[in-house]
């Protein structure tokens, strides 16, 4: 009886796999969607070869939608508003879309296939995003698991960005990685230097991108990236600034500090940088230099678990505890946070308890 059931299941499964394969092959080789038109913001129209994803079709026309997973439908970042065409919302999109977004025709562009003429709406600033090729000038170890990359754009190219924004690195096929993927990293350098940028990258165990950067990428190699993206940048106000970061989250804060120095922004500012022990700490000397360059800036590194041999005399405790000790009234301050979701959520709770309004807390969650 059991073997009969198993045999039937196997036969049905086999037929399903065969039919699914047949459909995929048919779509690949037999279906020709011809040329399709993508109407963007009712202002410009591009012609693309039908059959590809909306994300890829736009990318081939040099329009870059932020996407960290390279179009696998696993990051949920590549949202666009689809006004016409694009077919039904797929089950693969639903987990990434809120009720409101579904009602507002927001779709994941990596999941939408361009098989007919389609009309979309995207933020105007995405038209300014380009792909760049850069040369890896220098790779420096900052800690046991953090490196910094110095990238110089080729052919005199320049990237215009706001301090705090990020770029996406294209990771080519390497080793057993068969598809190109994109990963986002904040720019750590001055926005005034448009010919070169600096990225700070922490190794993700078994991560596709960081394994490439740590184990394959060499000085002198070429790297492709696009950008700049993001809404994490210094707001133009007179309020006191609180910056909080952990790990590689120091990157966008460092860029903001370059901006403050270069533009003569002398607002009172404190940067709380949380690490576990001394081996995780980096750029302390650079931060001391910023303290001397920016009149009202103070750098407060804190270790949550200093080792005896660290001989640490600075602040200790979780970064939330340190912030709690230093800030009494946050009601007229604004905050810039970069780090893990856990750290950011915990910091937001502390800042809110100090009277800081939520809409003045800006963050870049990993």
């Amino acid at each position: 009886m059991l073997s009969e059931v198993l045999r039937t299941v196997s036969i049905v499964s086999g037929i399903s796999v065969f039919l699914a394969g047949l459909l995929t092959l048919a779509e690949k080789f037999l279906l020709n969607y011809g040329t399709c038109r993508i109407n963007i913001n009712n202002a410009r129209q591009i012609e693309v070869k039908g059959g590809n994803s909306l994300l890829r079709s736009l990318m081939q026309s040099d329009i870059f939608i932020p996407s960290a997973c390279g179009g696998r439908g696993s990051c949920g970042l590549c949202k666009v508003k689809v006004l016409e065409g694009g077919g039904m919302v797929l089950p693969t999109e639903i987990p990434y879309l809120t009720e409101e977004e579904l009602k507002g025709n927001i779709r994941l562009s990596c999941q939408v296939k361009v098989r007919e003429d389609i009309a979309i709406e995207i933020p105007e600033e995405l038209f300014n995003i380009r792909e760049y090729t850069a040369t890896v000038e220098k790779i420096i170890d900052l800690t046991h698991d953090i490196k910094t990359l110095y990238l110089k754009f080729n052919d005199g190219d320049e990237l215009s960005f706001k301090a705090g924004q990020y770029v996406q690195i294209k990771v080519p096929r390497y080793g057993k990685v068969r598809d190109e993927v994109y990963r986002a990293y904040s720019i750590a350098s001055s926005p005034r230097n448009r010919k070169e940028i600096q990225l700070i990258i922490r190794r993700v165990p078994q991560g596709i991108c960081t394994t490439y950067i740590f184990d394959y990428l060499k000085e002198g190699d070429k790297i492709v990236l696009n950008g700049a993206y993001g809404e994490f940048y210094l707001r133009d106000t007179d309020r006191e600034i609180v910056c909080i970061a952990g790990g590689s989250g120091l990157a966008p804060i460092k860029s903001i500090l370059h901006q403050m120095h270069e533009e003569g922004i002398n607002r009172k500012a404190t940067f709380f940088f949380g690490c576990v022990s001394k081996r995780d700490l980096y750029y302390v000397d650079e931060m001391k230099v910023f303290e001397s360059l920016i009149p009202n800036f103070r750098f407060i590194p804190a270790l949550s678990g200093p080792k005896e041999e660290d001989n640490w005399t600075g602040e200790t405790g979780l970064i939330t505890e340190v912030v709690d000790r230093y800030i009494t009234d946050g009601s007229n301050m604004e905050a810039y946070l970069c780090g893990s979701p856990g750290m950011i959520d915990a910091c937001i709770r502390v800042l809110r308890s100090k009277g800081m309004p939520e809409d003045r807390i800006y963050y870049d969650k990993f």
């Binding site: 997973c69 990051c75 991560g207 490439y212 970064i319 856990g342 750290m343």
Partner: protein, 153 residues
């Protein structure tokens, strides 16, 4: 045992370079269905369930999250540390949602033995009974897990 198309697709996504650089199967040459069956039998033979193990892992992970990367001693014998990395990772079974790239390291200070897992491991154990293939860098062997955490049936 013959595996259905869903597991076939999941096994493909578990290969190196698909979702993570080293994949989820290590040097285990068994079919995914057989890996699931074997680990399922191991857990059942201990009078435990995937859910019980996942619950304990989740409990320790939550504790570690509160300490933002600093080690915390739980129940007097488990030192738990979490390390966050940028980004999220998808489930190879194509389950909805994304899982933060968090590595949880647990040291049993009484025995000196340690084990590590990710948020995705907890999900895959709870929802799919998948502990990863032998030789995979993130395999959470159920016998090791039970021993290091001191879980009783």
């Amino acid at each position: 045992m013959k595996q259905d198309p869903i597991l076939e697709r999941a096994e493909k996504l578990m290969k190196p370079g698909e979702i993570s650089s080293s994949g989820f199967l290590g040097n285990d040459n068994r079919k995914l269905v057989d890996i699931l069956l074997d680990d399922g039998q191991t857990v059942a033979s201990l009078n435990l369930s995937h859910e019980i193990l996942a619950d304990r892992m989740e409990e320790l992970t939550e504790k570690a999250r509160e300490y933002l990367g600093s080690p915390v001693l739980v129940d007097g014998y488990l030192e738990v540390t979490i390390q966050d990395s940028r980004g999220n990772i998808a489930c190879p079974f194509q389950h909805m949602g994304m899982y933060p790239k968090e590595n949880v390291h647990v040291l049993n200070v009484k025995t000196g033995e340690s084990i590590q897992w990710t948020s995705l491991n907890i999900h895959m154990i709870r929802e799919h009974g998948f502990y990863e293939g032998k030789g995979s860098p993130f395999r959470v062997d159920p016998l090791d897990l039970v021993r290091v955490l001191g879980i009783m049936a």
